[in-house]
């Protein structure tokens, strides 16, 4: 009997492959997936070149800062590029590219205005979008009449009158359709992986390959879920026209609209403080009157100590510069005092952003595409947590840089300041296992949805009236 299932599966696959509708879909899927992946890859290489160049420029500037301008000169870091963003762009879609490093500024990436933002007018066609939105539509188009179409043609009752049990027929239909839709997906994925292996220009480490593999596997799971939904609709509706209409309704509401609405709804429900409010609070915190008084007293005291009863005109050039630098160090201490307030504001913003992200994920889980997208951006490392990890890296870099400066100044004095030997900017990426853990709920919901709809299709087919 197992041979019978294999024969049925083979029949289903051949039916699909020889169908003109499938051929068009096969071609469209392959071209779109491969095309979007390669374009995203080319874009990734270009972004990496710009990011690397920018970071070198910023590091050179940092190395050339003299002691007098440690706290005041503009010091930047460039946003690093994530190799896996070519598969799931997520938060890396047109992000802000540089962060200002300093006590008095929030360690967030901010924007450039002199740039082309036109890509924001259209949806980003990364492979996750192609699979999530387009492949789902194409699967609906292919499978909507898998059962209802056979019923309309009259071949279903012939099939059911054969000695093959209904459960085997259903399993064969599902597997046959699944293998048929997997063919273009796996073909496309193989082409893209081959190009990645053969092309130089970016280093894709083991953990990145693991992430890419996971994202591709989620795509397979998603297609299985969409297939189960299509098959269930095909079984439940007697006419294929009604079936395709229902699937279009599902596509437009559950696949397109619901995930798109999830973030704005979460944002409105969490109601974070506005960006303007946060920015002004940070700008004001370091200007509080208490700090002003502390500074005035400190500077006056330092000046008196350095003058030691003399007039400023009596000081030599070297003594005068030493006095100015001592007064400057008092100002630097004032800046450090104000930094705590900045840190607490940013921590508050981070809490709100995490809450928006969490609520958005819960709402988006109502949609298989929402689950898939959230799982993919988590596994690819292009989600909110990556943004927060970069923010944390900026803050850590700022603290270690200031600490290095202070230690070196105390040991070596202000001349020939070895800023080039300071700490390097590094972003710690989340381990793959941890990303899997965070993506597990979305993967679980996808699995559950797929099982539920398959069981619905299965149960309905067992009771279906073929006439």
């Amino acid at each position: 009997m197992e041979l019978v299932i294999l024969v049925l599966i083979r029949k289903e696959i051949l039916n699909n492959l020889l169908n003109s509708r499938f051929s068009v879909a096969y071609f469209v899927c392959t071209v779109l997936f491969v095309g979007s992946s390669l374009i995203m890859f080319a874009d990734l290489l270009a972004e990496k070149r710009v990011a690397d160049t920018s970071q070198r420029v910023y590091e050179r500037r940092m190395a050339e800062i003299d002691e007098g301008h440690l706290y005041t000169d503009e010091k930047y870091v460039a946003r690093p590029v994530v190799p896996t963003q070519m598969f799931a762009l997520g938060g890396e879609r047109d992000p802000d590219r540089r962060a200002l490093i300093g006590y008095e500024t929030a360690p967030m990436f901010f924007g450039d205005f002199r740039r082309d933002p036109l890509g924001n007018l259209f949806p980003a066609i990364d492979p996750t979008f192609i699979v999530g939105v387009l492949f789902s539509l194409l699967i609906f188009m292919l499978v909507y009449d898998a059962v209802s179409g056979e019923r309309e043609l009259g071949t279903l009752k012939l099939l059911l009158s054969s000695p093959i049990s209904r459960d085997r027929i259903m399993v064969a239909k599902w597997l046959g359709a699944f293998i048929s839709v997997l063919i273009p997906y796996l073909t496309s994925a193989a082409i893209v992986v081959l190009v990645l292996l053969l092309t130089r220009g970016i280093t894709i480490g083991e953990s990145d390959w693991a992430r890419i593999g996971a994202v591709l596997a989620i795509g397979v799971l998603y297609m299985a879920v969409v297939l189960s939904i299509s098959l269930a609709v095909s079984v439940l509706f007697r006419s294929s026209a009604a079936g395709i209409l229902s699937l279009l309704l599902i596509w437009a509401t559950v696949i397109v609209a619901l995930p798109a609405l999830s973030t704005p709804i979460a944002y409105l429900l969490v109601d974070p403080p506005s960006v303007q409010q946060l920015t002004e609070e940070i700008r004001r915190e370091a200007s509080q009157p208490e700090l002003r008084e502390w500074l005035r007293t400190g500077i006056d005291k330092t000046r008196q100590e350095m003058l030691d009863g003399r007039d400023e005109q009596e000081l030599s050039d070297e003594e005068r510069w030493a006095m100015y630098r001592a007064m400057q160090r008092v100002d630097h201490e004032r800046i450090a005092k104000g930094a705590d307030a900045v840190v607490s504001r940013v921590a508050m913003l981070t809490r709100y952003e995490r809450n928006v992200d969490r609520l958005m994920r819960r709402i988006a889980r109502l949609s298989p595409y929402g689950c898939m997208q959230n799982a993919c951006v988590t596994l690819a490392g292009t989600d909110m947590e990556h943004e927060l990890a970069m923010r944390e890296a900026n803050g850590r870099f700022m603290k270690s840089t200031i600490s290095f400066w202070k230690t070196t100044l105390a040991r070596r004095g202000p001349w020939n300041f070895p800023a080039a030997r300071g700490p390097r900017y590094r972003v710690r990426r989340e381990p793959v296992a941890s990303a899997f853990g965070r993506a597990a709920p979305d993967i679980g919901v996808l699995l559950l949805t797929g099982c539920v709809f398959f069981l619905v299709a299965f149960a309905a087919f067992l009771r279906a009236d073929p006439t």
Binding site: S20, R21, V24, A25, V28, G35, D43, T53, S54, V57, R61, T72, E74, G90, D94, P95, D96, R97, R98, F110, D112, F113, R114, R115, D116, P117, L118, G119, N120, L121, F122, P123, A124, V133, M141, L245, L248, A252, T253, V256, A260, L261, T263, P264, A266, Y267, L268, D271, S274, V275, Q276, Q277, T279, E280, R283, R284, E353, V356, M384, E387
Partner: protein, 459 residues
Amino acid sequence: MLLTCVRKEILSYVLSLRYGLVFCLLVGLTLAATAVRTSIYRKQKAAYAESIGERQRTLEMLWDTFQFASRGIVIETPPNPLAIFAGGLENEITRSHNFAGQKTPRTGLRKLNNASFRYFLDIDLILVVNIVGSLLALMLVFDGICGEREQGTLKVLLAGPIPRDTVILSKIIAGLLILALPLLLAWGFSLAYVVGVGGVVLDAELTVRVMWLIALSLVYVSFFFALGIALSSWVRDSASAMAGGVFAWAILVLVVPNLVPLALKRLAPVPPESKLLMERDAIRETIEKEDMPKWREEMTAAKEYDDQQQLWRMLVHMVDEECDRRFEPLERYAVARVVRRLRLNQRIARISPSASFVFAATHCAGTGAEDFLHALSEVEAYGRRFREVFHEKQTEHLKRPRETRHAPYATDAWPPFEPSRLSIAQAVNACWLDVVWLAGSMVVLFLGAVVGFMRYDAR
């Protein structure tokens, strides 16, 4: 006879399950998108109003000129109510800009800065029409001709006394009318929500812009209706018509508009800010090495200072001023590259009707590419005015006695930022080509449908 045929077609569409679906989806999704975006707009409007006072308070708290050098002033464009319908580049246009002494101007965070906003589509009414509306229009009519042929009713219809041109015209007119109904209702409900709940006041200008948006939506959806009926009249079976329609839709709506901006990144590059920073540093270094020693000598000889600190600050100020003067051509060059790329982007992406529609709709709403360029030019112009005033103020302060040299600047010293948006005439000028292209393509497709049907073999 035409009217009878039109009536018959209207009834057959309206009584179909398919039309019910199109109707409910379009109205439901547009209302949901409008409701959400109206709430976001109200929040942003309140935040903007509050921020004006907050920024003034910050300015009053600054206690010396050093503080101003790091805090500076912040300017921002107020939120646009029509962004509720067509978000476009509103998130970019309404970014704040910080001008602080000699520091390079800093563009602030996006108002909707959470990374989660970038995972999915940015939903608004125009997106619903762009993606869902176009697909539904195609699905409504893809089997209008070939489906009737498969059912056998076409040959019966054509065997009657009704000429072919009347049949196809009636299908076209009826289809356009029944597509217009859910769109107009969707717009009507959305407008009522925005005015009633959102508190938006529709003055004459806004009303004209909204009328343009409605007209554009109708033309755009009609384009895909025309594509569907053209496919149907040239293809023999409905399955092929559907496959071809979906394929064409995917390419025109999803692929082409996205490919062009990515391709243009290579073909029309814009210099990154790090490169401009490097150039600015090089200019500064040259001035410090070559000009600063000369100025120091001249000032020392003319005894133009009271103390060493004043001398040093005046020299630094002169270096800054000269640096700004020499760097300005580079800034203009960078902006010119941005303008070139944006305009080239639009010209090429117009191949896609979806891109044409989005460009035209966002221009009508005031959130389009030209609006962004206008905002960019206003911010650049303000930056130049700010630097002029800052240099004047700094020169005047540096000439003061030591005790008052670093006293804070007067809070009303700075030029006001009074942003303007493009007028309706300018918006129409920016999008007339898109409108003509969409309408023209639609007419060509209808003609194609008519020609196809006139030659159609009904057997």
